[in-house]
Subunit: 509 residues, 2 copies
């Protein structure tokens, strides 16, 4: 065996060990959130800390650096194929980033995250921005320091771009600004029209549906999207947690939901959303399991997969044509008086609001735009931490027309910043935009996909996703993936058009 | 800090890391048996293999040897207290044993275990002893080789004693022979009397009880023995698996059971039995968590804790006085016509049989005695593997009066030998014998413990177990523990007397 082949083989072995350790950590984390007896939390944190330490050791193992050097300096390097080169690239990127940060900084950040989140909880409960502010300054400064150190490796022009790269590789704030500016205009247009025309009574959504029935509904949702939780070859399962999430790896991917007796739609859309994440992880090509390339392309692409099922499928007219009769069968007389139109309207009720996670499909993007603009201006020095509440409240008034009455329903509503998650928010809205672009191609390749949904048939759509998204795993950076598959750059128009068409269809404006 | 203190501290750090890794492995194993989607089995085996490798590396880390050497050669060694010395002793024993075996032998054994169990499955299905025999010869020879290498470190006089030491430290075949000879006589006496007098119709035990009701019964069992699965500080939980088991560590100890609709007693006694194991693990002193001393004393002592609750409590007249009314409440009319006497008789129905795991409280010991005698004679060269079926069948006729019709219901009924588990069986019966000795002291210390059971009160018994067994963890080898706590050596009479009294009470012979 040539030494190049040997070194590449060694690199894949190292990658496999890391993937196995990380997948074990995911299961233990899942266990903590779902099944662990409460008393076990300290022991669990020891187990997780050990696996994290082990993963970090594997990630920063100097042997990995040596193997990478040997491969990249090998005269035969160019003989590697595209997949092999991508594996080398991703392993190199992960290694360089992990070894770049001084241990002290890593430890300081972890400590400040813990402190920051704790203080945030108290400050939020007390509606006391002044209590939280100094902690936010600290975590922002530490995160900026980290970002500065990573700029070089990431080829980022600004610290904020380096932060974005953690979630959307190679995406930049300039690019997002361009896209989001267009999106804001589009969303405003749709929002205004919808608010003018919609006349929805969604009160029936709070009619009680027992948890046991909602569990059956959940199983139907899983069946519908072909997220297998039952067969002898099932690779998924559904559990209950306060906040729904998806975790796992390839053959063992688990989602969670939450059942609110007076809000049955919540679990339907949680399962469709998380199921979308789950199908992506399960749909990665088995041949790339344990390799650097064998992961999703980005947070934004992931979000595009979950939102596609949640919104484009699950909030469509065709979905409710298919599903309402089944729902009525399961819920007895509860929704006897409700017709498809009413259900569709209720599922698509639009209302500007203060809280992101409760936002509808149209206004959701506005919340993200606001956060992105604030993060961007914060890291460019245009805005100081101390000015955040003022800036926040103004933007909510300007973009959504809502008045923020206190900082707990405003700037302190999320834990993200408290724990140093800067650069993450854009992914949430990029998901929508990617969806618009996927949709253009899906409509072309599978013109009758909505007809399929109406019949409860998901297999063709799943096959399309496998061919066009899941199957590429991490072969491309997200924007390149979209371009490679659709031939289109990252444009916002298709998403806005989709929204406009959809809501025009619903409200006939 | 003196170097002794420092080294001792280092030893505890090493031990903690090992305990954390092993506890993580236990959770992943539990996940595999209970929650994992079936497709995840290959990934899970990778995760488990990684943790096992890591645990083995930690166990055999030369740094551990250095620290142990430094401690044991330190002039201040005698200043260590009893607990510290025990920790050093246990760590040394584990290290020496783990480093003594050549890697090739370890690998050969693992491989042969896999092959052996696979062939055993086929052979058992085909009732074909000749198919299985060569594999049994191989695993027996490999196990003997291992035992020979460990004799020295374990201070064992024979290879078989070295094997026993893995499960019952410092126990010997001679000692077990002496005890089991007495037990066999005692069991025969009780068995003969019971068989002469009992006149039980246990047919009502197969009346169907829906699984959902059995789950409620299970929760009641957990409540009764104070195995907490519900409170905000719960450290336990109950799940369903084909074969019930207990796993976990201190603050997170989980048991499983199985619900058979036409055999509701099965899950009651599984939960009481596994709950007994669980309470032991949960009852280890928190101050010793993560230390070598912070484990149970042995398999036999563990079995004494599970059997105590299963049989001495759960099959007692007092238990059924307390529990039958509750059971009737949960099961509607199912057992309306059954009185306490009938339930007690049915729960204590004695019948010599061929299959160990289905055996009653009296004849169970006979199954173990047979296996022990065979193992002992196999390793002393008195019996060859090829002679096992003949020897087995003869003993079943001699000791239990049952005729074995084929080797699948005889010598091939268990997987233990196929996977090289020799020396393990004695623990199953030693548990009963330890129980007899505990009982003598419990009767003295807590004369009204049966009155408590009758009232459904378990807390005093649990406190007694904590003080007399759980709380000692691994401070003593099992026989020393019994002697230290009860003042009595390992004698079989109390157990036989207990059995005799109990069955005389039930059947009035």
């Amino acid at each position: 065996m040539s030494s190049l082949k040997e070194n590449y083989k060694r690199l894949l072995e190292q990658s496999k060990e890391l993937a196995v350790v990380q997948s074990a950590g995911a299961i233990l984390q899942w266990d903590m959130e779902t099944k662990m007896p409460p008393k076990g939390v300290e022991l669990k944190s020891q187990q997780l800390a050990f696996l994290e330490k082990t993963a970090h050791q594997l990630l920063t193992n100097p042997e990995v650096g040596k193997v990478l050097d040997a491969i990249q300096k090998d005269s035969g390097y160019d003989s590697l194929d595209k997949v092999q080169k991508r594996n080398v690239y991703l392993a190199r990127k992960a290694y360089d980033e992990a070894t770049k940060l001084p241990e002290k900084l890593v430890v300081d950040i972890v400590k400040q995250q813990t402190v920051g989140v704790n203080v945030w909880k108290k400050a939020k409960a007390a509606k006391d921005w002044k209590l939280f502010m100094p902690e936010l300054v600290k975590i922002k400064d530490l995160t900026e320091k980290k970002a500065e150190l990573l700029m070089d490796i990431k080829g980022a022009k600004t610290p904020y771009d380096a932060l974005i790269d953690d979630f959307e590789p190679k995406m930049t704030a300039d690019n997002i600004t361009r896209i989001f500016d267009g999106m804001r205009k589009g969303l405003t247009k749709v929002m205004d029209k919808v608010l003018e025309h919609q006349n929805v009574d969604a009160g029936f959504l709070s009619r009680p549906v027992p948890v046991a029935v909602q569990e059956k509904i959940g199983e139907q949702m899983a069946d519908f999207i072909l997220y297998d939780i039952k067969s002898e070859n099932a690779g998924g399962r559904i559990d209950t947690t306060e906040h729904p999430f998806t975790t796992g790896y390839y053959t063992d991917v688990r989602i969670t939901t939450n059942y609110h007796e007076n809000q049955f739609m919540s679990s339907i859309y949680s399962i469709l959303h998380e199921g979308g994440h789950g199908l992506y992880e399960q749909g990665l090509p088995m041949k790339w399991m344990y390799q650097p390339i064998g992961t999703s392309a980005s947070y934004g692409i992931h979000e595009s997969m979950s939102r596609f099922i949640e919104n484009m499928v699950g909030r469509s007219s065709e979905f409710w044509t298919y599903y309402l009769p089944l729902l009525k069968k399961l819920t007895g007389d509860t929704f006897k008086d409700i017709d498809r139109e009413q259900m569709l309207h209720a599922a698509n009720y639009v209302a500007p609001s203060k809280i992101r996670i409760e936002a509808d499909e149209v206004t959701y993007g506005m919340h993200i735009i606001i956060r992105f603009e604030i993060e961007r201006d914060l890291f460019s020095g245009k805005v100081e931490v101390s000015e955040l509440p003022e800036v926040w409240n103004q933007k909510y008034m300007d973009y959504l027309g809502v008045e923020i009455l206190n900082d707990s329903e405003g700037v302190m509503q999320d834990t993200h910043w408290a724990s140093g998650l800067f650069g993450y928010f854009p992914s949430y809205a990029l998901g929508n935009i990617y969806d618009g672009v996927w949709l253009t191609k899906l409509d072309k390749d599978l013109p009758n996909w909505k007809g399929d949904v109406e019949k409860g048939v998901y297999k063709n759509i799943k096959a399309w996703m496998t061919e066009n998204v899941y199957g590429y795993a991490n072969l491309y950076d997200p924007e390149d993936l979209v371009k490679h598959v659709t031939g289109t750059g990252l444009v916002v128009e298709p998403f806005i058009e989709y929204l406009d068409d959809k809501f025009r269809g619903i409200y006939g404006y």
